[in-house]
């Protein structure tokens, strides 16, 4: 169900990319749910034909010789004959070794196609913005040196976290999140394909809730379908469980500002982290919900959220920074409350 709709969207933009056999390295960026991956897949299919879809998944351990010790790295790759897709940032702080060793190794080797021509292969790197600085530094030489045999497609959510050096070596393609009416169109298209009766305004509501993420929209559409069919026009669109939980934390923070509450919030934040919610997302969501505050506070809360997000990236223990943000917010908000209401 989900796949069909993606394919629908991709032809629209892949026209831009049809020329890019000449472009060595592309970097595509855009918010999640805007179709970056779909676009890349479409591009690969255009270049390599149907074989690009015959991928295999491989999860293997690499032994890397780093001076005095050897490091074991486990990496999942998704590859076809002509391309390899991987997320080097999965290795955490050891991502440098992936870039230095594995990617270089892959880039070095040149495929030869059936007719004896020298071909080239494509490396798709996901989540480049999560790469550490060192990894990005080691990436840039690789990009240039092996450009003859290898094209890189970097995929990230935000280009601001990719170093200038890399960005300048890439053709930057920004992929905008779809507009709401576009989402509505896609949803209606899916409805038609699946033979669903869409009550008027329902698709619009789903699109509205989706935060302009097409993926989210389709998924919650599907969830609604599982939950209740035929649709009723005022059907509740269930939020994600973790989003619910975050908003719970938010209301906790708004209701009371005390050490005790801070302690409880810490427990809940831990709970989220344990459930593998990325801390950046938590912080972003927290600050977004907190923006529903008074006008005067909005600015300040945004500032602190950005401040602590930056620090979280520099640090390692996310909970410390989340907690610092919560404490800061509580302190600011409490002061504000006392000032306004006495």
């Amino acid at each position: 169900m989900t796949r069909s709709s993606f394919i629908k969207k991709s032809p629209k933009t892949s026209r831009n990319w049809s020329l890019n056999k000449t472009v060595h390295i592309c970097s595509s960026m855009g918010p999640s749910g805007s179709g970056k991956k779909t676009l890349i897949m479409a591009l690969l299919r255009q270049i390599f034909g149907i074989s690009a879809e015959k991928v295999k998944v491989e999860n293997r351990t690499w032994k890397i010789d780093a001076g005095s010790r050897t490091i074991d790295l486990e990496l999942t790759t998704l590859s076809s004959t002509n391309h390899v897709e991987l997320s080097p940032s999965d290795a955490g702080f050891q991502d440098r070794y992936i870039v230095q060793e594995i990617i270089k190794e892959m880039a070095k080797n040149r495929p030869i196609d059936t007719k004896g021509r020298k071909g080239y292969k494509v490396l798709v790197l996901n989540e480049v913005d999560k790469l550490s600085r060192e990894a990005q530094h080691s990436l840039r030489r690789t990009m240039e040196k092996y450009s003859a045999s290898c094209r890189l497609i970097l995929c990230c959510n935000s280009s601001s976290k990719v170093t200038e050096a890399i960005r300048s070596r890439c053709l930057n393609v920004r992929i905008n999140a779809p507009k709401e009416d576009q989402i509505v169109k896609v949803l209606e298209f899916i409805g038609k394909k699946e033979g669903l009766q869409l009550p008027p305004g329902f698709a619009a509501r789903v699109a509205d809730k989706s935060n302009r993420s097409l993926r989210r929209a389709i998924l919650s559409f599907e969830t609604c379908r599982v939950q209740q069919y035929p649709f009723s026009s005022n059907q509740a669109i269930p939020p994600m469980d973790w989003e619910e939980y975050v908003s719970e934390i938010c209301s906790d923070m708004m209701r009371e500002q005390s050490p005790k509450r801070l302690f409880q919030v810490r427990g809940k934040l831990y709970e989220l982290l344990i459930n593998c919610i990325p801390p950046e997302i938590i912080l972003k969501l927290l600050s977004e919900l907190l923006k529903k505050l008074d006008e005067e506070l909005k600015h300040e809360v945004c500032h602190w959220a950005a401040y602590y997000e930056h620090r979280m990236r520099m640090g390692q223990k996310a909970i410390f920074h989340l907690e610092a943000f919560v404490a800061k917010f509580m302190s600011v908000y409490k002061a504000f409350l006392i000032e306004t209401f006495g």
Binding site: V55, E58, S79, D90, E222, W242, M314, M330
Partner: protein, 945 residues
């Protein structure tokens, strides 16, 4: 220090009030109105549950009588004292002993002095009249703060009335009352609201206090500190010797009932304050008293009857011995006290008497047991298997192991040869030492055999020798085999060997302990130590009160040598040592002890955490640079900062917490720099921001945030949580791989978690809840197959969707349905195509490499085969000969057979062989990797480079 402060205090007023006398005279008037107000120290046991105000007046009379009794022929002195008020304050230096006098003739003045600030609050009419006193006192505080910045143990009561309680952080270490009691004890109701009085240093001397329940304004530790500082003694339980039971509310506990039984008077906190405060006003006579210090010294034992009681005959004997030594000591006073007062006979040893006796017996019997036997049999057969040829003394430094070894051997007429690890730089010993560790021609062995030879030659019949191997645990630091050689020496030795070590559980000594008789020395108690210290002090003509020495004994943690050294050092600069001096002295030079991270955090956050010096704080936080920050982070919210005083609606505290949290986050960032980029020079900055700043902001009393939580520091939660996060991420990654392998989607891991997981969960659980059983199970299994989700993955999905306070996602599913689902899945499992990644052990390797291989079933259409030609695109394949490639496309059957052979070798590969479809397989030939000729998606196992 205290004296100096007084001086300053007076001087400050010289400026303000023109001269000291005015100051001194000024003092009484404001308090005069108070004379009729009762002195609140009268106590009576039973029935009083109200606070001090309620029954303050009662027992004062009786108390007064007592005081009068105490007051012998000192009236005259008192008069002198009054006159001498006008004397220049600068002369008013040092006297410990006259403080006792202060106490004695304090009675008349006491009424003047009775102006506790509490009263000040309650009787508003007199506030103005009393103001001058307050001014004075606050002045004093200021001066004190300026004067004694380093005096961390001091009484920084200040305006807030926060008195130092430096002993052991929050005093939990004292063990009195136990953890649970401590946790239950409430905060004092008027905490920090009263001025803590300042009295003459020894005004409580000879009195024994027991504290019970919650006091009105002081923490228990503060009260203990206050009493100790003024010469009083604190004990844990009520006995006949107890002079007062200090309590503000009668909680009917064991202490109070016992006290009533014994008729011990009760004393409220205010009463205590009055007592102390009253002593201060009579400071003036100090001058008078200072004229006759000599008599004071001599009369010391008489004045404190309790002290005299404690002395036993043995003590006296030892004392006389000391006196003898003292005479000798005068001649060679350059000797350090540790040498000078080293015990000369085993009986003088402090503590461990039974061990010394044991050692004595062992040494005495050694010859009969071994030497004679050795002579007879020329072999090493031992008639008593339990008897050991060597002895191992273990225990902390400074408790007399070496001394007892030397003494015992000397007493038995052995000649002790001491081999000492720290001496090994010396030439002779180095030789011996090298010998121990190295070749056979070593001096030890020579020594041993020589002795035997000497014995045979009948030359040294009387010259028995004992080898004392000191510090054996430090022995093998430089060279290996030292201990082994020592053991060998023990086996053949013909002389007794005494080994001495600090830590007998040390890894190095593991083998040695089997050959030795183990004697573990224990720390002497502080009473034992202080008894001895008093003897030493008397012999040296040093004036020290017993409380101070007990404090000293406690601070050095059982190390007698350290105590003596400290005492000698202090004696160089002063001839009278009191409690404060000892505390102050040892604050800086306290013996290093192992502190656990918990103790460190306790101290940092403790009530007196703000008074620690910077280096102490760094020391504490560095005691375990990994764990302490985590503990701090876990617990900082729990502390109610002492620095903010009155906090309206918690605003200030919240602000401080925010600052602390930010600082902790700073610490994390610095930690990344340290660990990742090896910027170790930042470690101090790291500990500063992750430990010291939060502690400095928030130190105070701890409170609980949760019901039923015990009031002491939790272990840092981060470690556990972090490992759970790691585990869950791994599980999620497994699920991710499986989903990818299903080729139904190619999503990222984060998207999987954020967007898909909820939907997946719904798909997996909703049908079970709503549809009839069989249909539901079929549907879910179908779904799982499509996405190649296996049961562990399903558990992962459920696990990751659990939130505290929310229902379990599996709620509402009947267990029969769950069981049916499991069964159905397992049934299908048998015929399922391998879609999921599984762990395949590769044969031929000792340790099976962990390898996850995902295999995907591909329709084998012909177009695919053509593309297979350039299927060697994988970079890592090119460096090995791809033998399979030459086999072309027709090797399907071969692969199958290989697969079967694999199976026969016990490798778990789940296969379903369908016509024309290749399955995953792991090939174990060392050179190559099995690649499906037909199926490019065939499982590939690549060799490790």
């Amino acid at each position: 220090m205290q004296r100096d402060i007084r001086k300053w205090f007076m001087k400050a007023h010289d400026k303000g009030n023109d001269n000291a006398s005015t100051n001194a005279e000024k003092k009484p008037p404001p308090t005069d109105p108070k004379t009729e107000t009762p002195v609140r120290e009268g106590q009576e046991g039973s029935g009083r549950r109200k606070t001090s105000k309620y029954f303050a007046a009662n027992k004062q009379k009786q108390k007064g009588d007592e005081e009068v009794e105490d007051l012998p022929a000192k009236r005259k002195a008192q008069n002198d004292g009054v006159q001498s008020v006008k004397a220049p304050p600068s002369k008013k230096v040092r006297k410990v002993e006259d403080d006792e006098e202060d106490d004695d003739f304090s009675v008349p003045k006491k009424k003047n002095g009775a102006s506790p600030s509490k009263k000040l609050k309650s009787s508003s009419g007199r506030v103005i009249a009393q103001k001058p006193v307050d001014v004075n006192e606050s002045d004093e505080d200021d001066v004190k703060n300026i004067e004694s910045p380093l005096k961390s143990g001091g009484r920084g009561r200040g305006g807030r009335g926060v008195s130092g309680a430096p002993s052991g952080g929050r005093g939990r270490g004292s063990g009195r009352g136990g953890f649970m009691n401590f946790g239950e004890r409430k905060d004092p109701p008027h905490k920090g609201e009263k001025e803590v009085p300042e009295g003459a240093p020894n005004c409580l001397a000879g009195l024994t206090f027991v504290i019970s329940g919650t006091l009105d304004s002081l923490e228990r530790e503060e009260a203990e500190d206050l009493i100790k500082r003024h010469g009083g003694r604190i004990t844990g339980s009520v006995s006949k010797k107890t002079s007062y039971l200090l309590c503000d509310e009668d909680i009917e506990g064991r202490k109070s009932s016992k006290a009533k039984e014994l008729g011990t008077p009760f004393l409220t906190e205010d009463g205590l304050f009055d007592k102390i405060r009253s002593s201060k006003n009579i400071k003036a006579p100090a001058l008078e008293a200072s004229k006759v210090p000599v008599e004071k010294v001599t009369s010391l034992p008489k004045k404190s009857p309790q002290k005299a009681d404690l002395k036993t005959h043995k003590d006296l004997a030892a004392g006389s011995q000391l006196a003898k030594q003292k005479n000798q000591a005068i001649q060679r006073s350059s000797l350090t006290w540790t040498e000078k007062y080293r015990p000369k006979v085993p009986n003088e040893m402090i503590g461990n008497q039974s061990l010394v006796t044991q050692l004595h017996n062992w040494l005495k019997n050694w010859n009969e047991q071994f030497h004679d036997a050795g002579n007879k049999g020329k072999g090493k057969k031992q008639n008593d298997s339990t008897a050991k040829k060597a002895v191992l003394l273990s225990g902390q430094p400074g408790i007399g192991k070496t001394t007892s070894a030397t003494l015992v051997s000397k007493m038995l007429g052995f000649q002790a040869i001491e081999v000492n690890a720290s001496d090994n730089r010396g030439k002779a010993d180095a030789k011996i030492f090298k010998g121990i560790s190295g070749s056979n021609a070593n001096c030890i062995k020579e020594l041993i055999s020589n002795e035997a030879l000497g014995f045979d030659m009948d030359r040294s019949k009387h010259l028995k020798t004992v080898l004392i191997m000191d510090e054996v645990d430090g022995m093998s630091a430089g060279d290996r085999g030292g201990v082994a050689d020592l053991i060998a020496s023990i086996k053949i030795s013909k002389i007794p060997i005494i080994c001495i070590c600090n830590d007998r559980y040390s890894q190095k000594l593991k083998s040695l302990v089997n050959y030795c008789l183990l004697l573990s020395f224990r720390k002497p108690t502080k009473q034992q130590m202080s008894k001895r210290l008093i003897q030493v002090a008397n012999a040296e003509g040093l004036q020290v009160n017993e409380i101070a020495l007990e404090e000293l004994a406690e601070r050095v943690n059982g190390d007698m040598r350290m105590a003596l050294n400290q005492l000698q050092y202090m004696s160089l600069s002063m001839s009278v040592i009191n409690y404060d001096d000892v505390r102050q002295r040892l604050q800086g030079s306290a013996k290093d002890e192992d502190i656990s991270p918990f103790t460190a955090v306790d101290k940092l956050f403790g009530f007196s955490g703000g008074k620690l010096r910077m280096d102490e704080r760094i020391g504490l936080s560095m005691s375990d640079p990994d764990l302490v920050p985590l503990l701090i982070q876990e617990n900082y919210i729990n502390y109610r900062p002492a620095s903010i005083g009155k906090d309206d609606n918690g605003m200030k505290r919240m602000r401080l917490i925010a600052r602390a949290a930010e600082s902790i986050a700073d610490g994390d960032i610095i930690n990344v720099q340290i660990r990742r980029y090896r910027q170790w020079q930042l470690s101090q900055a790291g500990s500063l921001s992750s430990c010291i700043i939060p502690a400095a902001l928030l130190h105070g009393s701890r409170e609980t945030l949760e019901q039923g939580e015990r009031n002491f520091n939790r272990f840092g939660g981060w470690l556990g949580k972090n490992s759970t996060v790691g585990k869950n991420l791994r599980l999620l990654e497994d699920l991710h791989v499986h989903l990818l392998a299903s080729r139904e989607s190619n999503l990222g891991r984060d998207t999987l978690r954020l967007d898909y997981l909820t939907v997946l969960l719904k798909q997996l659980t909703d049908p079970l809840r709503m549809l009839p059983k069989d249909e539901a199970v079929e549907k879910v299994v179908e779904f799982m197959n499509v996405y190649s989700i296996n049961q562990e993955d399903m558990d992962t999905i459920v696990e990751l969707s659990k939130f505290q306070g929310h229902g379990n996602p599996l709620d509402g599913i009947p267990s029969t349905v769950k069981a049916a689902l499991t069964r159905a899945y397992k049934d299908e499992n048998k015929s399922r195509m391998v879609r999921a990644a599984d762990l395949v052990a590769l044969p031929g390797k000792k340790k099976a490499l962990k390898k996850r291989v995902a295999a995907i079933l591909e329709p084998s259409d012909d177009g695919l085969r053509e593309e297979n030609g350039d299927a060697l695109a994988e970079s890592e394949e090119e460096n090995s000969s791809d033998t399979e490639d030459t086999e072309g496309t027709g090797n399907g059957e071969k692969l199958q057979s290989e697969l079967l052979s694999l199976n026969s070798k016990g490798i778990q590969v789940e296969v379903e062989l369908k016509s024309g479809k290749e399955k995953s397989k792991a090939k174990k030939t060392p050179t190559g990797r099995g690649r499906g000729g037909v199926c490019i998606d065939g499982k590939k196992t690549s060799r490790q480079r």
